[in-house]
Symmetry: C2
Subunit: 157 residues, 2 copies
């Protein structure tokens, strides 16, 4: 089931890609059922809280009628940033599956190893990095972005 839920998250990431947003998708499940899906919308909505994880957490809390997402699992295509990591821990999500590491902003283990420090009042029970094409999608997105920017620079010459 984990592979299936991560594939749904990857399809969500492609929705961000089409909007020229950094392609990140997210799925939250409870009892092996999807209760929330989302994708990064920060630029389109001009909302600093527009990361896929936060949107998914908010949606899931509406579905469950509680801000405590006890018993829930999150599948996200990119390692969460500090803000999202805080929200994941705080909302009591129990299992976290990650599609690619983020060496620049990742707050699970890459930049700030919050989880391993176990300093928070709560913690995520299970964290797993999965083998996905998320890294490939992201690197292709940023390559395209650089190419488009270079075209703009050429026009300004």
């Amino acid at each position: 089931m984990n592979e299936y839920f991560m594939r749904v998250a990857l399809l969500q990431a492609l929705k961000s890609y089409k909007l020229e947003e950094v392609p990140v998708g997210c799925v939250i499940t409870k009892d092996n059922k999807i209760i929330s899906t989302s994708y990064n919308l920060r630029e389109s909505t001009n909302d600093p809280l527009g990361h896929a994880e936060l949107i998914a957490i908010q949606k899931a809390s509406h579905v469950l009628g509680s801000w405590r997402l006890t018993g829930c699992s999150m599948y996200v295509t990119l390692e969460p940033c500090l803000m999202c990591t805080g929200a994941i821990i705080d909302s009591r999500i129990e299992r976290l599956y990650i599609g690619a590491t983020d060496p620049k902003r990742g707050a699970i283990e890459s930049v700030i190893p919050i989880i391993t420090e176990r300093l928070m009042p709560h913690h995520i029970d299970e964290i797993e990095y999965m083998d996905t094409i998320s890294g490939y999608i992201l690197s292709r997105f940023f390559k395209n972005l650089r190419y488009k920017k270079s075209l703009k620079v050429d026009k300004n010459l």
Copy 2:
């Protein structure tokens, strides 16, 4: 001006208090003008993103039409948690004024000294702890809460 803006944040915190929410208030200013106010609403709205700082950041981004709150200052009556600290750093807020420390969840210096580690791609230029009655309001709130809970326990005996 800092004292005035913090007083406005404290008045916001009292709105949370009346709703039996942990009393935390927040104000965001730009060019010495208030562009956003908010107070903690997590329990009332059942929203894991219902912390005062996140609501204020989202409101401010609507006012400015951008998720980058460059040049903005935040006044918050309690030291931000990990999620809110991430959002503050990520939204480029430049100055942060805090009304009381949070020894259990504070992510500025109390539990996880994110800022001092300077591991993030961005950082807050200026952080100041102010001398306020916020700590008194919070301890009175939790004292009342414990008292109410003890009454409930008595009834169940």
